[in-house]
């Protein structure tokens, strides 16, 4: 079937072959080896295509894809770019990385989310030496991938409420008995590095710190009122609270809050608990079942 071979040949010429030093003989050998059913006439058509014109497609394909990952993994790519020369002795070339990505994890659908998932896996597999030196890179990649998923995920038809003020006319006891759950489009991360602080440091200094102590951090990722992805640092008890399999009430959250804030008097602690809970709700990390 010549049409399929034509198209496959173009895929090979654009994605696989190095046309920088192309000549018709090398192209003839490449295509006839990979697509033995191509006829002489079809091969002649394909050999007539100037290498510099194929190069335009290479640039638009790989350039377009590098823009996608730069939008989705802004911070992770900046980490790789910063530490790549130290680890590999040369500058980081994103276009070369995208070419390599195509070979190791071909993009199989028309969904950019799949391409970005491939890039995440590719970085973990390929930049092990950087991750060894700057272990937060693996967590940053995961964080950015999850933020992307939260940004893009289909809307759920849940009727969760994200504002305590909606219950302003209810009795306190009624409010406290309301149950909560983690929304579909939210996610919890347990990390060894304070990713939000690392990102903030980069935003201020345009560089990542080199020595970062590992501890234990918890993050909640969700959608805010405008349905944009947002994240905040969680206390350990909040992470535990959100990961429990059963539905818990506002009262149970307040009790857990009191337990770790025992130095604050009860009235003030209650107000602080509700204020904090409102924050978790507005970050879409928890929602109230009405």
């Amino acid at each position: 079937m010549p049409l399929k071979d034509y198209l496959s040949a173009l895929r090979i010429l654009i994605l696989d072959a190095d046309t920088d030093n192309d000549n018709s003989e090398s192209r003839r050998l490449l295509l006839s080896k990979k697509l033995p059913e191509l006829t002489t006439t079809e091969l002649d058509d394909l050999l007539k295509i100037p290498a510099e014109k194929i190069d335009i497609y290479k640039r638009t394909v790989f350039g377009g894809e590098s823009t996608i990952v730069q939008n989705h993994y802004r911070y992770s790519i900046a980490v790789i770019k910063q530490f790549f020369p130290e680890v590999y002795g040369k500058s980081f070339d994103l276009i070369a990385a995208i070419k390599q990505l195509h070979t190791s994890l071909p993009w199989k659908s028309n969904q950019t989310l799949e391409f970005s998932a491939n890039f995440y896996r590719f970085c973990l597999d390929t930049y092990g030496l950087i991750i060894e030196q700057q272990p937060y890179l693996a967590e940053l990649l995961q964080y950015e991938f999850m933020m992307l998923n939260i940004r893009r995920a289909a809307d759920s038809d849940s009727t969760l409420i994200f504002d305590l003020n909606r219950f302003s006319t209810n009795q306190v006891s009624e409010i406290l008995s309301k149950q909560m759950q983690s929304p579909v489009n939210s996610c919890l991360l347990k990390c060894r590095y304070d990713l939000l602080q690392i990102i903030s440091f980069y935003r201020q200094n345009n560089i990542f710190p080199t020595q970062i102590p590992a501890e234990q951090y918890y993050f909640g990722l969700g959608r805010n009122q405008k349905k944009l992805p947002v994240s905040l640092k969680l206390a350990e008890f909040e992470f535990t609270f959100c990961t429990l399999p059963q539905l818990l009430t506002i009262e149970e959250y307040a009790s857990a809050f009191f337990a770790v804030n025992s130095e604050v008097d009860e009235v003030a602690a209650f107000q602080l608990a509700l204020k904090r809970l409102q924050e978790l709700l507005s970050f879409g990390v928890l929602g109230i079942i009405d």
Partner: protein, 277 residues
Amino acid sequence: MKNFNLPVFGAGAGLRHSHFEEIIRTKPAFDWFEVITENFINYGGWARECLSEINKFYPLIAHGVGLSVGSTDPLDLVFLKKLKTFAEEINSPWVSDHLCFTMVDHTNLNELIPLPFTREAVNNCAERIKEIQQITGKPFLVENVTRYITVSDREMDEAQFISSVLEQADCGLLLDLTNIYLNSQYHNFDPYEFLNKIPLQRVAQIHLAGSRINDRGEIIDAHNAPVFPEVWDLLKFTLKTTGPTSILIEWDNDLPPLDTLLKEVEICRAVLKEVCS
């Protein structure tokens, strides 16, 4: 038959995320917007919310970049069913995509790659377009693409290829005049002769765009500048045959303020008035 018997919406622009909030806030004088389907199908969140809001005030038309109309891979039936649902949700009167391929051997090239102008490619495209129209339940328009290469023109030229697909699939044409202009520059042909060879009565929508010379001294189809003056002339020529048609300004890179897009849209309106009134 005019406009492939489809409604005419006036002058619009491609809807881009960075303009969403301003459009919702200021409701600028665009007649309609075109929506890239792959940016919305399967997705929710802020962008989808904005789209619903914008759709309350403007007609939206679904335009795809990933159906891979000319591919030999099977059509993505799951995606097509979602496209049907999406087109119904936004009340799109038709759906469109490009006369090219973007996937082959189950690999996405993420670019509009031209097809060989062969009888086999015509048959393949026509069969697939019929299936797309059947599944989506909407009229389908194919868009002529920019092509930096000629894969094969032994059996027919591009104008014959486009015409054959349109007739055999019985679909509409999304006529990209910028692509014709650029192709005429790349492949040294007369764009007016080209327009005379294709069935303009099937044109239901027109795309216009411009590009700056890049740092290699090339003009590629970057959609990052005002419409080329030569393309306005091609528009006037085309409208003499098609009559009033839905026209769209495409601007995807180095996105300007909405006012700049509106100025382009106002030129479209002036041309429509000059030629068609």
